[in-house]
């Protein structure tokens, strides 16, 4: 009984730490995207994590980043003795799984498998996009509160920290924005400007509309991926069923259709 309870707690810990891994292109936690299919812990405290992406064709470099992110997060739990990451149903699944579980340095495998891409640069590219998206959400929240452009660009980190921004998206992104500011060293002290550019520059009040235009473009791209990925992930392996009374067309988005391989409930 006690063992079962400890194991359940361990499993929760694993799920918790997996929420720190984001899809690099969407800047959304892989657990929110429902990419993680299974977490298993063996008696000798080896962890297995299975994950699956929305399509067979999802970009392998993102798959590598997520697989290694999963490995790093899980291995950072003090009780974990060993771990295996498995990417399921992907066109380069074997390469990803072999790479992530080989124990070789990530940057080597990444360069080998992703056409010589430099890991650090790829990570930075996606961090910049994530930064823009989070910043836009917070700025739009401030605008919705009636703050002027001059007030926004002149705001310090100390002031921003204590504000309750308007709107669900701004509220969701606020802690993530503050986090990335800190991690990137873009603003640390209370007196630092709250809205530097990704390069660390300042924005003039007159330039804010153009700046927001650029951030919007980044968001449009990311949302395109996000909308497709969420939907595709949900509809993968599901089919429309045509019943005896003609077409009964089913709402896939609501997930009312069982996956193809599951037994159907009752007589059909």
């Amino acid at each position: 009984m006690l063992v079962a309870q400890v194991m359940a707690e361990c499993e929760l810990e694993v799920w918790d730490c997996l929420s720190a891994v984001s899809d690099p292109e969407l800047d959304e936690p892989i657990t929110d995207m429902e990419f993680v299919q299974a977490v298993e812990i063996s008696d000798d405290l080896a962890v297995r994590v299975d994950f699956r992406l929305p399509t067979y064709w999802c970009s392998p470099n993102f798959a590598f980043l997520m697989a290694f992110g999963i490995r790093a997060q899980v291995m950072s739990l003090p009780w974990v003795k060993d771990m295996t990451v498995t990417l399921m149903d992907h066109c380069l699944g074997d390469e990803v799984n072999e790479g992530v579980n080989s124990g070789r340095p990530f940057h080597e495998i990444f360069a080998e498998q992703c056409g010589g891409a430099v890991l650090k640069e790829v990570v930075q590219t996606f961090m910049a996009k994530a930064y823009d998206r989070r910043q836009e959400a917070v700025m739009l929240g401030l605008r919705a509160m009636g703050r002027s452009d001059a007030e926004i660009v002149g705001m310090t980190l100390g002031t921003l920290r204590h504000l309750n921004v308007a709107g669900a998206e701004a509220q969701r992104q606020m802690p993530r924005y503050l986090e990335i500011l800190g991690v990137q060293g873009l603003a640390r002290g209370d007196s630092d400007p709250a809205f530097p550019t990704w390069d660390g520059g300042r924005i003039a009040a007159a330039d804010l509309p153009a700046h927001l235009g650029r951030l919007r473009a980044t968001r449009i791209n990311m949302e395109f991926n996000g909308a497709l990925c969420r939907g595709l992930g949900k509809t993968r392996y599901k089919e429309v069923e045509i019943g005896p009374d003609g077409p009964t067309l089913v709402d896939f988005i609501a997930g009312r259709v069982p996956p193809r391989d599951m037994p159907k409930p009752g007589p059909h």
């Binding site: 392998p60 991926n225 988005i253």
Partner: protein, 341 residues
């Protein structure tokens, strides 16, 4: 012909349609299965509920299906068939130039069938381009740079071998180069959806028209920047269109960006049939207005009736040298026929 609620007749040239065979019998391997499965997921994910097809019909639909869905039930006057071969995945090709032409021969006044080639075939690609021109008199091609070919997992428009092919296209008058730049994933470049190669190719081949399908999404900003610099770069709306149903505000943001940067004369409607059918897309598009706040952020751009008419058909007609008035007369003399089934 789309008839608006107030009775106006709008010429519709559907710039992006397919006549594919993704059936299990034609699949060469798991990749073929996964490819059509992925298309089907797009279909189920972004279609209105009452427009969903069952899987077996989606895998392979008939000559009657495409004619009815586009021209009888659908508002298209003409449609461009884009040939996506994927020969490593399908025995006779996912799209097949011969199969599409055989189908189109029944209604030649309504179809434009575009070819395709793979520059990695070298001399053979050049011979093939000659053959396509002589046999089918093609006026455009569809380029799928993410296509696998042996060990290669993709190519770029500005590869030297590709330039040789485009030189020949220019010489033979194959003017319209449709390029798939959209939600595809392979090759394993560091930014897998890069549209940079369009910039080079469009600069170096000023006499060719470069129609970027799926308007470069999810690299819309990069695409807009390139399209602003190059006068011969166009935006194809396939895959962007269905968002009009599932996320209308988001669709408005895409349209506002395109109208602002690329302009109303360089945007082309495409249903991406059979992933989606044109009837509901055109109906919703005609009824659509960009939300005021989004429009205000982009200089007040709006989808007026005149702009919509350009996007739905007039822009593509210009690229393909179609005299719209003459075409309307011709089609009026050959109304759609409902096949006896």
């Amino acid at each position: 012909m789309y008839k608006t609620p107030d009775g106006k007749e709008i010429f519709v040239l559907d710039g992006h349609t397919h006549f594919w065979d993704g059936s299990p019998e034609n699949q060469s391997n798991v990749h073929g299965k996964q490819f059509i499965d992925c298309f089907y997921a797009y279909h189920t994910n972004l279609s209105p509920e009452d427009q969903l097809w069952e899987k077996s019909k989606f895998e392979k639909y008939s000559e009657e299906d495409i004619y009815r869905d586009l021209f009888v039930d659908g508002p298209d006057d003409m449609a461009i068939i884009q040939t996506t071969v994927l020969r490593d995945f399908y025995k006779t090709g996912f799209g097949c130039l011969k199969r599409a032409n055989d189908m189109a021969a029944r209604h030649p006044e309504r179809f434009i069938v575009n070819g395709s080639f793979d520059p990695r075939d070298g001399e053979k690609a050049l011979e093939y381009i000659h053959w396509m021109k002589e046999t089918y008199d093609i006026s455009g091609v569809k380029m799928y740079t993410a296509e696998w070919n042996g060990d290669s997992k993709g190519w770029a428009l500005n590869d030297p071998a590709a330039y040789k092919c485009f030189e020949l296209c220019e010489k033979l008058g194959i003017k319209n180069i449709h390029v798939h730049k959209g939600p595809t994933i392979i090759p394993l470049s560091k930014d897998a959806f890069s549209v940079d190669d369009v910039d080079y190719a469009a600069t170096d081949f000023q006499n060719l028209n470069w129609i970027v399908e799926h308007c470069g999404l999810p690299r819309l900003d990069d695409f807009c920047w390139i399209a602003t610099q190059e006068t011969n770069v166009y935006a194809g709306l396939a895959v962007a269109m269905p968002f009009i149903h599932s996320r209308p505000r988001y669709f408005g943001e895409i349209m506002a960006e395109l109208l602002w940067w690329v302009g109303e004369d360089k945007i082309l409607f495409g249903s991406d049939y059979a992933i989606w059918t044109p009837q509901w897309l055109v109906e919703k598009f005609w009824a659509y207005q960009i939300p005021e706040d989004i429009s205000a952020e982009r200089g007040g751009v709006q989808l007026t009736d005149a702009v919509k008419e350009k996007i739905l058909g007039l822009n593509a007609a210009k690229l393909y040298g179609i005299d719209v008035e003459a075409k309307k007369k011709q089609l009026a003399g050959a109304p759609v026929q409902i096949a006896a089934e």
